[in-house]
């Protein structure tokens, strides 16, 4: 009896010690507080699971806050009130506003010391330029930003007798395609829909003149805006021609990306320019209509004078470490984890056991919940270039991603929003005929210079 009691006590003590050791290990990296917008669970319960999974992976107690709305306001309020976070989700232009105020931690030395983050096979060296100011790094990455490219309604194209793989990669070539597709598309069908009020989806067309989107840093240190040069006039006038002939949906001048996507997905548009991930989403959203009644097919757009395609990648979605962060090392551990295979799976597939199950042979099966989340818990395309997707992509996404080598990063800084507003303002007026191409470009240049966007 005594022996049994002694054995039981020893066992309990051993268990207690094991538990203490586990929890000590689990919180070896302390506590990490994260303010997130896109990344994480889809509801409060799932957010807790996500934070738990992330905490286990990095050996820390992770708490994640996700505001219901007005994320920008919330970030401002929280930082202004002195609340302490270790990681905050932002987009690239916002990073520049905060860096100007000295509100961010310089991560350069942490990145250089990290075997994962400094590995150029994982994150190419030029990617860090997006989050650098004067050669210092101020953020880590949430995902790989993919490119935007042409998506064509393949079903209507074939109805119009067009072989989508044989389209002449010029403005005239696409003009003829849109014209033929409009003839068979039915009432309310347009050749092209765009989001000109935000000036973000025009690169495949300006590629025909060899003009890069956004603000371009030249070798002499000056900054120019190729869309606002004389060389851009033929492209703007091409868009104006499409508008005048009823091939460009007039709502392209005022509508949102949501409007554009709705019309394309319901077969009301021949061609749109959208993210590579959306090629797959269009086809998934079509449900049973895919592929007989609707198929989004990706194309790289027009070729420039040098014979190459030119596509644009999006503004980086990033994580910054505020200057008052309590656990910078923990925050860097999270950034490192996001750049691993396991981290990529958490950010895309979701939480194991909740969004998906892993079979004995390593294959992955989605649960009903996981299927509804469309492989997007913040990073449909994870950070690491070495990431291997265990499930595969939705229809035609692999083909869309094959055009990534033609895409380059669009430069962002504190004046990016001003650039977009000015280009959209005069671009709209050129396209609807209020201004001629030459007058519109002259006005664009004048205002871009006055606002300091062109230097």
């Amino acid at each position: 009896m005594k022996k049994t009691g002694f054995r039981l006590l020893s066992l309990m003590l051993a268990l207690l010690m094991a538990l203490s050791l586990t929890s000590a290990l689990a919180e070896a990296n302390g506590e990490i507080k994260i303010l997130t917008n896109v990344t994480g669970g889809k509801d409060d319960a799932e957010m807790l699971l996500f934070a738990e999974a992330l905490g286990k992976a990095v050996g820390a107690k992770v708490t994640m806050e996700k505001p219901a709305a007005n994320y920008g306001d919330v970030v401002m309020q929280k930082l202004g009130a002195g609340e302490v976070y270790d990681l905050i989700y932002l987009n690239a232009p916002q990073m520049f506003y905060l860096q100007e105020q000295g509100a961010l931690t310089d991560l350069t030395d942490y990145v250089k010391a990290s075997p994962i983050l400094s590995d150029t096979a994982v994150i190419p060296a030029d990617e860090w330029e997006q989050v650098s100011v004067d050669g210092r790094i101020y953020a880590g990455f949430n995902k790989t930003e993919v490119h935007r490219l042409v998506n064509i309604n393949k079903v209507v194209a074939e109805k119009a007798g067009i072989d989508v793989d044989a389209i002449e990669p010029t403005l005239d070539g696409y003009y003829e395609v849109m014209k033929k597709m409009k003839e068979v598309g039915g009432e309310g069908f347009y050749g092209l829909n765009a989001v000109i009020k935000d000036a973000w989806d025009l690169q495949p067309w300006f590629a025909s003149a060899g003009l890069k989107a956004g603000q371009v840093l030249n070798e002499d240190g000056s900054i120019s805006v190729p869309y606002a040069t004389e060389a851009a006039i033929p492209v703007w006038e091409w868009l104006a021609k499409l508008y005048a002939e009823g091939l460009l949906d007039p709502d392209s001048l005022t509508g949102s990306s949501g409007d554009m996507r709705g019309k394309f997905n319901t077969g009301k548009t021949a061609v749109v320019v959208d993210w590579a991930a959306w090629t797959g989403l269009y086809n998934l959203n079509a449900g049973e209509a895919y592929p007989e009644q609707f198929e989004a097919y990706p194309l790289p757009g027009t070729k420039g004078p040098d014979g190459n395609y030119m596509l644009a990648r999006g503004d980086a979605s990033i994580w910054v470490v505020p200057a008052n962060a309590a656990n910078v090392e923990g925050a860097v551990k999270v950034l490192e984890f996001f750049a691993t295979q396991e981290g990529g799976e958490l950010l895309s597939l979701g939480i194991e056991g909740h969004d998906y199950t892993r079979e004995a042979d390593g294959s992955v099966t989605f649960t009903e919940v996981g299927r509804s989340h469309n492989k997007d818990h913040g990073a449909p395309f994870p950070v690491s270039r070495l990431y291997k997707d265990p499930i595969g992509f939705p229809p035609n996404v692999e083909l869309a991603m094959s055009y990534l080598p033609y895409a380059s990063i669009q430069r962002s800084d504190a004046l990016t929003d001003m650039y977009r507003q000015i280009v959209a303002k005069y671009g709209t007026q050129i396209v609807n005929g209020t201004l001629s191409g030459a007058d519109g470009i002259a006005a664009m240049q004048e205002e871009l210079k006055a606002e300091g966007v062109i230097k």
Binding site: K197, L253, N324, K425, Q429
Partner: protein, 305 residues
């Protein structure tokens, strides 16, 4: 000696406080609320307008540099002018439309018809600009109702949101559509308060209905119009929701408001110093406009001054 001279004043104050203490106690919670949620943030904002913003760390006092940058910013000056132009023109249009609507409603003899028209015209006021703006964006779109009608009449379609010349008319019209019903309700209330015997006397004297409206109804509505003018004047520079929902790049130069400027600078670009200095300018401008309107309308004067 001096104490004894001051003593009567102090004791009068004490007597008054004691006499009306229950009233002061009732006012106290409201006063505290305004002190905490209105005046304290106002003072903080004014202080921030004199600082170089730092979301984290101690801000740096820079005097009037934010104000200098503000008045050198073409976009702020344009936004201030847009707000004043659209705000004041809207106010005048809304009062005029409200008056016409109130007078017309007053002439309706059928009660059900009166109630129906009043409800229909008042309803848009209850909806937020998110709903109203969304509806009008659709109605005025290139393939919307208005352009469909223009097409049917053989006229050229109009791009209301992409041609700068249409920016302000669209804002003024949609604002009048939304707000006139509210003004009409207030003006109708003043109309029904007029003693019917005055109209009877005028009728006996041979005045026509139009003369009665011109010589009795309109002058009797004047105090209400003055009140609406003064209250409306304090809101001339405060158009935000409508512009945020309905503005587009091509027309923004004509309709972009000063509150939209403050939102973009303060919230989107995190330039708190610039935003709070713009807010201070709006506060001062609103005060001056209200003062000018009060003086011009002879607010405290009587009808016969």
């Amino acid at each position: 000696m001096q104490d004894s001279l001051r003593a009567p004043g102090r004791s009068l104050l004490r007597r008054r406080l004691k006499q009306y203490r229950s009233i002061y106690l009732m006012i106290l919670p409201v006063l505290v609320y305004f002190l905490i949620f209105s005046f304290y943030p106002l003072i903080l904002g004014l202080i921030q307008s004199l600082q170089k913003e730092r979301l984290l760390g101690t801000p740096q006092f820079i005097g009037l540099k934010n104000y200098e940058a503000l008045f050198r910013d073409r976009n702020f000056l344009q936004a201030l002018w847009n707000s004043f132009y659209i705000g004041s023109t809207s106010l005048v249009i809304n009062i005029m439309m409200g008056t016409i609507l109130a007078l017309s409603l007053n002439e309706l003899r059928s009660r059900p018809a009166k109630a129906a028209v009043q409800t229909v015209t008042f309803l848009p006021y209850l909806f937020s600009w998110t709903v109203v703006g969304g509806v009008w964006i659709y109605v005025l779109s290139h393939n919307g109702l208005v352009n469909g009608m223009l097409d049917a009449l053989g006229l050229e379609r109009v791009s209301f949101f992409t041609v700068p010349a249409w920016g302000r008319p669209v804002m003024l019209f949609t604002n009048a559509w939304k707000q006139s019903g509210y003004f009409a309700v207030l003006l109708l209330a003043s109309l029904v308060g007029i003693d019917p015997e005055v109209y009877e006397a005028a009728h006996i004297d041979g005045a026509s209905r139009m003369q009665q409206i011109g010589r009795i109804s309109l002058p009797m509505m004047l105090p209400t119009v003055k009140t609406l003018l003064l209250l409306g004047a304090t809101g001339v520079l405060r158009n935000f929701d409508q512009v945020l929902i309905m503005s587009r790049p091509a027309i923004k130069d004509k309709v972009g408001s000063v509150l939209l400027f403050i939102y973009e600078q303060g919230i989107l670009k995190m330039k708190i110093g610039l935003a709070t200095s713009a807010a201070a300018v709006v506060l001062l401008a609103t005060f001056l406009i209200a003062l000018a309107v009060r003086k011009a309308s002879r607010y405290e004067g009587s009808l016969y001054d």
